[in-house]
């Protein structure tokens, strides 16, 4: 890391963060020594054709890359099989390496029964940022996947409620945690302030919520919905 690169990182807030060019990140088909983690061994045996890589990271943590088309099936098996029983999903997140590289969706699993942790990664190409939602397996995935949609733009198929969670619902500048998104955002500060103040405070009564209070028999408008004052 040269001095210039470091300086550029701090000053270059107008562009996105320094994309990781040197990171191999992805699978490359390499399989590390799976011994010591029974789930990795079993995965390689049963779903060997869908496993595209494995690595032991940080000394003891096993990471397995799987085919993103089969994530639901494989995670289902990991959750329900008696020898593995990953009943807790600790975290779901995504990693953008930048420079046109695929985005990885990362699932961090933990089994309270066997006291084991496992990390599963699925690669998604930038022109195909879609993957099946696993909300039906773990309901914790609901908000975790919404956050990935909001910040990275990954669409989760069959997610019951896929909408922005941290940014305003009509945020137009893009998906903030992508590497090509500048730190200060794409609009000027004046434009951002103007848009913020233009937001109606009631607008968060989105389409689903506007139907909430409505009894099918009732014709009367409800305050706060688009039929009422709001």
């Amino acid at each position: 890391m040269t001095l210039d690169e470091t300086k550029a990182g701090l000053d270059a807030v107008e562009e996105g963060p320094h994309p990781s060019e040197r990171s191999t990140g992805s699978s490359d088909g390499k399989i590390d020594d799976p011994d010591g983690h029974p789930s990795v061994v079993a995965l390689l045996l049963r779903f060997g054709d869908s496993v595209s890589g494995h690595r032991v990271s940080a000394g003891t943590q096993h990471v397995v890359w799987i085919d993103s088309a089969r994530n639901l099936e494989i995670l289902h098996w990991l959750r329900d099989d008696q020898d593995h029983q990953y009943d807790m999903i600790s975290d779901i997140t995504a990693v953008d390496y930048g420079a046109g590289r695929p985005i990885d969706v990362v699932y961090q699993l933990f089994s309270t029964v066997h006291k084991r942790a496992l990390r599963i990664r699925c690669e998604l190409p930038l022109d195909g940022l879609e993957i099946d939602s696993i909300v039906e397996l773990w309901s914790a995935a609901n908000w975790l996947e919404r956050e990935i949609y909001d910040l990275f733009g990954v669409t989760f198929r069959k997610h019951p409620d896929l909408r922005r969670i941290l940014m305003p619902h009509d945020y137009e500048e893009g998906h903030p945690l992508r590497k090509d998104f500048p730190l200060r955002g794409r609009f000027s500060r004046a434009e951002q302030t103007r848009r913020a103040l233009d937001q109606s405070v009631e607008h968060s009564y989105i389409a689903e919520e506007m139907d909430l209070g409505r009894d099918p028999q009732q014709a009367a408008p409800i305050i706060g919905t688009k039929d009422g004052d709001g």
């Binding site: 807030v13 990271s57 999903i89 961090q108 309270t112 773990w138 908000w143 922005r164 209070g213």
Partner: protein, 426 residues
């Protein structure tokens, strides 16, 4: 694994079923027919500016009278994009950001972050540093629980425990300040060690705190635990079963109150927690009252842990003695060329990381706090820094917990989840 089931039967609602489910006990006599009124459900908005939402949280509720039919939490009103900021900062510069995420337990976040980085870089810290970090984390666990206690009590109308809890927090503020110079935004850790060693006399201050804190806790206990109003408002409210809790991602005291013995300090131990003698309190019914009892007992266990940590606090260096990781001392820098070069490189460039990713989970005060770090070969800044906030996942369960409860119960449930919006929105 040692656990103690917390169960407190005094004044428990006789209408409660054996398995903890609430049995319908109507206020009106049974034979009075329900009048056939045309009703419609009401949509109300709580927050984001509200005293009882514990931060800028917005709850949109559909109410049938006073019963909550559906509640939808809206978050994002404190989104400060820590994770993106982290991609522009070197490893040690990020420590100052971590204080501001969970401002109720800053030392826990400081420790969690550098523990994840050290795990990625496979750095083993010194024995003294381990014990000092355990002390920091346990103090901040008490710190955070005290605020939870004060604000929960004030939400149900008890003002005095709030003042008592804040007076105890002032004593912890003084400890923070003596150690790091700041009351809240401590930034106490660095990769490979701490910002500085404990000042002289700090352990005496801590010993003083430990010796007298339990008196105040007992007083608050006397005010709340057997208080009929508090019991009436929290027993049977917001109950959830153990399987549903695990599946929804509940962690921390919320999960332990459901009867699940999951504590990261016992299940994925770090820093020799397996050698300390402590119990984790486990509840039974998964309601607000059990969460309250679990956290009260956790504070006592933390005091016991602090005592043990103080006893075993070893001497020796606090930072790893590797000049590629920890800053050399100033005297060395001024006299020795190599130290000066190391100092220069560490400050201007930072510590180079190996290729890889690392997920480090610790038991934070709110639940399982995870830090996921992705680094590139030789990188001095993270490629991705992800915080797995316990409150984020805990809050997502709120709609399930609050269904068919009253609005006032919704406030109690929200308080008992012990959320902090700083870490939810990051």
């Amino acid at each position: 694994m040692s656990k103690r089931t917390v169960e407190f039967n005094v004044g428990r609602n006789p209408e409660m079923g054996v398995d903890g489910s609430v049995v319908d006990s109507p206020i009106l006599p049974f034979d009075m027919p329900e009048p056939d009124l045309g009703t419609e459900n009401m949509l109300i908005n709580i927050g984001p500016q509200h005293p009882a939402t514990h931060g800028v949280l917005r709850l949109v509720c559909e109410l049938d009278g006073e019963t909550v039919k559906r509640v939808i939490p809206h978050i994002g009103y404190l989104h400060s994009s820590f994770e993106k900021l982290g991609e522009y900062r070197t490893w040690n510069q990020i420590v100052t950001l971590t204080d501001r995420i969970d401002y109720l337990a800053p030392l826990i976040y400081n420790c969690a972050y550098v523990m994840a980085v050290e795990k990625l870089m496979e750095i083993e810290v010194t024995e003294r540093c381990k014990v000092v970090r355990v002390i920091c984390m346990e103090i901040d666990r008490i710190f955070s629980h005290l605020l939870w206690l004060g604000t929960t009590a004030i939400d149900v109308g008890a003002f005095t425990p709030f003042l008592y809890a804040f007076q105890e927090r002032e004593r912890i503020y003084k400890l923070h300040e003596a150690f790091t110079g700041a009351r809240i935004t401590t930034s106490a850790t660095r990769v490979g060690g701490m910002m500085a060693d404990l000042p002289e006399g700090w352990t005496d201050g801590l010993q003083d705190f430990i010796d007298t804190f339990l008196n105040t806790l007992d007083e608050i206990d006397r005010l709340l635990t057997r208080n009929q109003i508090h019991i009436g408002r929290s027993q049977g409210v917001g109950a959830i079963s153990a399987e549903e809790a695990i599946n929804s991602g509940f962690t921390g005291a919320n999960l332990r109150a459901c009867g699940v013995e999951y504590d990261v300090r016992k299940d994925q131990p770090y820093y020799d927690y397996e050698t300390y003698d402590f119990e984790i309190p486990v509840g039974k019914h998964g309601d607000c009252y059990d969460r309250y009892l679990c956290r009260m007992e956790e504070m006592r266990q933390s005091v016991s842990l602090l005592r043990q940590a103080l006893e075993r606090l070893p001497g020796g260096p606090i930072d790893v003695e590797d000049p590629n990781i920890s800053l050399p001392s100033k005297t060395d820098c001024m006299s020795d060329m190599e130290s000066m070069i190391h100092h220069f490189k560490l400050i201007t460039e930072g510590i180079p990381a190996p290729e890889g990713d690392c997920y480090m989970a610790i038991e934070g005060s709110k639940g399982e706090l995870g830090m996921y770090i992705v680094a590139e070969e030789g990188g001095t800044k993270p490629v991705r820094w992800r915080i797995r906030p316990p409150s984020f996942v805990n809050l997502s369960v709120l709609p399930k917990l609050a269904e068919e409860h009253l609005v006032s119960d919704l406030i109690m449930i929200n308080a008992s989840l012990d959320i902090v919006l700083g870490e939810i929105d990051r």
